[in-house]
């Protein structure tokens, strides 16, 4: 090796080492934030925050099934007992009335501050009489025992009023003291993690704690041998998809590497050459991750998963180089010959991906940067480092029959032109016909979550009576008090709208504003007035005299009692609910009112706007996410088109021949059209990941068309070139084809698109490009 060689290898090693160093300090994320726009609208911002660390994002729904109900109930109780002490979880609820005493006491002791029924009329003679009549009705029912217990201190019925409000909310079935699914086959628990929803490590620890509590609970219980624990929730999804992508990416890249290595070993018959052939890919992937890490501060799991797709293209450069070395030739002379074509191939790919670099969505921008860096580094390694390391006199023996057969095929290929035009025309017509049903903007098509997990989520939510929240009314102010006041104004409007049947119900913060609490204290009557009204109300009623002796003192105490604050609710179920409804944000506080059973959202929006001055946003989570993904996809599509345009310009500038540019672009365009039609025909609807796949098809395929177009010095040269394309194509097929076995919809989409597209690009190039050599 010459001095230049040593220098190149040293620089390269230092470069790789520094990439590894950067990666070692890199933070990997898998949350949905990569799918969020970099400059969100205020509505999107609220939603993104909710998804990231809102209380809803900390929710884990747990189902235990696979054993008789009493056994499941026992498991649920023991799990809950253990999990209540777990540091990973802020709260666990399994329907047991454990800890409910605290809530009951809170409601009872603060009923005159908390009840929204406290109004002047409530304590008039007529109001009290109404309530006492209601008590009489209750006393005649089987609930008389409970009614009698609260009657003497609460004749205006605040506690019953509040309990009825809470009762009105959907609750799962209770059997053997714990929550069960409607059919009694699954015990249900609800956990809130202490860590935020996007802290995936914290979510994973919480899941582990739940799983080990389950194992602990069933230990030594033969009846529970078949029992299973299932979990779902936003955090669980993140953990699972991270694991799925990590596992798939790792497993599939190992298999792909092995398969490609076997093929290359057969081809090169030199382990050293094989290892050298993998260097460009490895350096490219490392550099790609390091670049994203430096550029964005963190690397998304998807970007990482995408890294293995680079194997398919990166390995091609070494194949082109190695396979095209002539007998008695040297890598340097070969490079001199094929370098312009290889360079143009990489520039074409870079052009395609650079449009993504400027995307407003972090995920796309990361993919762009990763691909560009990866490809440039892979090519540079093939060009600058590998030739120095190849053994002297290395060249690839390909079986003579293979070259002959290939050339025969290539010569025959142009006869297929008519058939190809027909196929592409049919595909194009099909695409035009299907143009409105091509894209799937459903969250499920975008999310890296398998369909099964989504089904389980739906099932558990239904069992829990906790439907996914779609509509949320949001208001905000600089401080907690004003946010709560605005929330109360909105709740008053919602109550009217619900009474008109425009929605079924809503959740409100269980903490009234200080203003509301003070107003309630103010309407409580003085002792004289109270006795007079009570006396009047009781006239002709069958209540025993002296029953209500404690009432006056209770009211007097309530008038002086300290107001409730956030702190006072901590440690109760109500406190947890408050945390979901009242949220501190970057600027000020927000009150979130989840709405149930919304029939006509725009009408509700108008109704609220007409009734109150309070600022509000009616958030439609479904529409908002779909809109966001539509924007995302539109942007990706227009970026891809820009990229394609860039490629055409680049080709024109370097080839300076309109005819050649057309010849080179045609096979690619035909491949893209045909693959898209094939995907739709096989029942797929397209997501943004298919779009990325198509971009990769262009990137990989452009190498094929360029080499077909490449002017060769001899028939042997042409044969070697075509053979190298075949091997490059097989390696791409192996790499991407394996991805289509991935559980993750993302990797799956990219894999199937690129594997098919690459094969078609090669075949179409053979059919469409006929080059007369010197």
């Amino acid at each position: 090796m010459k001095l230049r060689g040593y220098l190149a290898v040293t620089v390269w090693l230092a470069f790789v080492a520094s990439c590894v160093l950067v990666i070692a300090r890199t933070q990997f994320t898998t949350d949905m934030s990569a799918f969020m726009p970099r400059d969100p609208t205020p509505t999107q911002k609220i939603m993104v925050e909710q998804l990231r660390d809102g209380v809803v994002s900390r929710l884990i729904l747990i189902g235990v099934d696979g054993a008789p109900a009493p056994v499941l109930a026992g498991l649920s109780k023991r799990m809950a007992e253990q999990l209540r002490a777990a540091p990973e979880l802020a709260a666990v609820n399994n329907g047991e009335q454990v800890g409910m005493e605290k809530d009951f006491e809170l409601l009872r002791d603060n009923r005159y501050l908390l009840s929204d029924a406290v109004t002047p009329q409530r304590f008039s003679a007529a109001g009290l009489r109404d309530s006492l009549n209601y008590y009489l009705d209750l006393l005649a029912t089987p609930m008389s025992g409970m009614a009698q217990r609260v009657l003497p201190t609460d004749p205006s019925g605040e506690l019953i009023h509040m309990l009825e409000q809470l009762q009105g909310q959907a609750q799962p079935l209770v059997q053997d003291d714990v929550w069960f699914s409607g059919d009694g086959s699954r015990a249900m628990l609800l956990a809130h993690t202490r860590g935020a929803g996007n802290d995936i490590d914290a979510q994973e620890r919480a899941m582990l704690a739940i799983r080990s509590a389950f194992e602990e609970a069933r230990k030594g219980n033969a009846e529970a041998a078949g029992a299973q624990v299932r979990m779902t929730g936003p955090g669980v999804f993140s953990v699972q998809s991270r694991a799925a992508i990590r596992d798939d990416a790792l497993r599939l890249s190992i298999i792909a590497t092995l398969l490609i290595s076997c093929m290359l070993l057969l081809l090169y018959r030199s382990p050293r050459a094989l290892a050298l052939g993998l260097f460009p890919v490895a350096s490219g992937a490392l550099a790609g991750i390091a670049a994203v890490s430096l550029g964005f501060g963190s690397v998304h799991g998807l970007t990482l998963g995408f890294g293995i797709t680079l194997i398919g293209e990166g390995v091609d450069y070494a194949i082109y180089l190695f396979t095209q070395i002539e007998r008695n030739g040297s890598p340097q002379t070969t490079l001199r010959r094929i370098w312009p074509t290889m360079r143009l191939g990489v520039l074409t790919s870079v052009c395609g991906f650079s449009a993504m670099l400027f995307s407003g969505f972090t995920g796309l921008a990361q993919l762009g940067m990763f691909s560009i860096t990866g490809l440039v580094v892979a090519l540079a390694t093939s060009r600058l480092v590998i030739p120095h390391l190849l053994p002297q006199g290395f060249f690839v023996h390909t079986p003579a029959w293979l070259g002959g057969a290939l050339m025969a095929l290539v010569r025959a290929a142009p006869r297929m032109r008519l058939a190809l035009f027909l196929v592409v025309a049919a595909a194009l017509a099909f695409l035009v016909f299907k143009r409105d049903a091509m894209w799937n903007d459903n969250l499920s098509s975008m999310s890296p979550i398998p369909q099964e997990a989504l089904k389980l989520d739906e099932q558990l939510r239904r069992d829990m009576g906790a439907p996914d929240v779609r509509y949320m009314l949001v208001t905000g102010a600089d401080d907690e008090e004003h946010a709560l006041q605005q929330g109360e104004e909105l709740v008053a409007v919602l109550r009217d709208l619900a009474a008109q049947g425009m929605l079924q119900g809503y959740d409100a913060p269980p903490l009234p504003s200080r203003k509301a609490q003070l107003a309630r204290q103010a309407v409580l009557p003085g002792e004289l007035e109270l006795r007079r009204n009570m006396g009047e109300a009781l006239r002709g009623m069958p209540f025993r005299s002296g029953t209500f002796a404690p009432f006056a003192a209770e009211i007097a105490a309530a008038k002086r009692q300290p107001l409730l604050d956030r702190e006072a609710l901590q440690g109760t179920a109500l406190g947890l609910k408050l945390d979901t409804c009242l949220v501190r944000r970057e600027e000020g506080w927000s009150v979130m009112l989840p709405l149930r059973g919304v029939k006509d959202a725009p009408a509700i929006e108008r109704g609220i706007g007409n009734a109150t001055e309070a600022p509000f946003v009616l958030l439609d989570m479904k529409r908002e996410t779909e809109q966001m993904f539509r924007d995302y996809r539109h942007e990706a599509a227009s970026n891809a088109l820009l990229g394609a345009l860039g490629i055409v310009v680049l080709l024109f500038v370097s080839l300076r021949s309109f005819r050649r540019v057309l010849e080179i672009s045609m096979p690619l365009a035909a491949a893209v059209v045909t693959v898209t039609a094939l995907l739709l025909l096989t029942g797929h609807t397209l997501s943004i990941f298919h779009l990325i796949g198509l971009l990769l098809v262009v990137a990989v395929g452009s190498n094929y068309t360029l080499f077909f177009d490449h002017r060769c010095t001899s028939a042997q040269d042409r044969e070697r070139t075509i053979t190298s394309l075949l091997f490059a194509n097989v390696s791409t097929m192996l790499g991407f084809g394996l991805l289509s076995f991935s559980q993750s919809p993302v990797l799956n989409a990219i894999g199937s698109t690129v594997a098919t597209g690459a094969v078609l690009s090669l075949v179409f190039s053979a059919i469409l490009i006929v080059r007369k050599d010197d």
Binding site: L136, D137, A140, T141, P142, M143, G145, Q148, V174
Partner: protein, 188 residues
Amino acid sequence: MRILILLAALFVLPASAEEWGLPQLMQSLAQVQTSQGKFVERKHLAVLDVPLTSSGTLSFRAPDHLEKHTLEPKDETLVLDQGVLTIENKARNIKRTLVVQQYPAVWAFVESIRSTLAGDLPMLQRFYKVELKGGAAKWRMKLLPLEDRTRAMVKEIVISGHGDRVTAIEMLEANGDHSTMTVIGETQ
């Protein structure tokens, strides 16, 4: 239907007349598929000077449909169907449903009547210690709650009847309140 039961009774009675007990009572109650009747209920409550009196109709269809329709003093229906209790008060426009299993005390109370009418001894014994006095013609069954939670509310329930018909349900609550419901039945 009645003729069939009487016929059956003719064959069964002579042999088991001396061994009449809880299983036999339950068996004969279980034979009754539907029954209807009028009731008068008096509730003596600590907070009230006078007993609460109400009256209306009762109907039962084996094994788990029970209706208590109060006509006086207020129209109110209480329907138990397959474990779901629906309370409807038309005057107050209130309709409330609850799954009785979620309210153990209510469930225990509801089962005392439903299990008896359905002749469901295992369910009855799940909640109560059952003491039976009297004979097939006139009997008196005392139910003592087994669960602490139920005991905190109900001290004992006494159900009396003639043959396969329930004629009275008395309940003594833990706080000293007690109620008596007399049933004038027309079994079909």
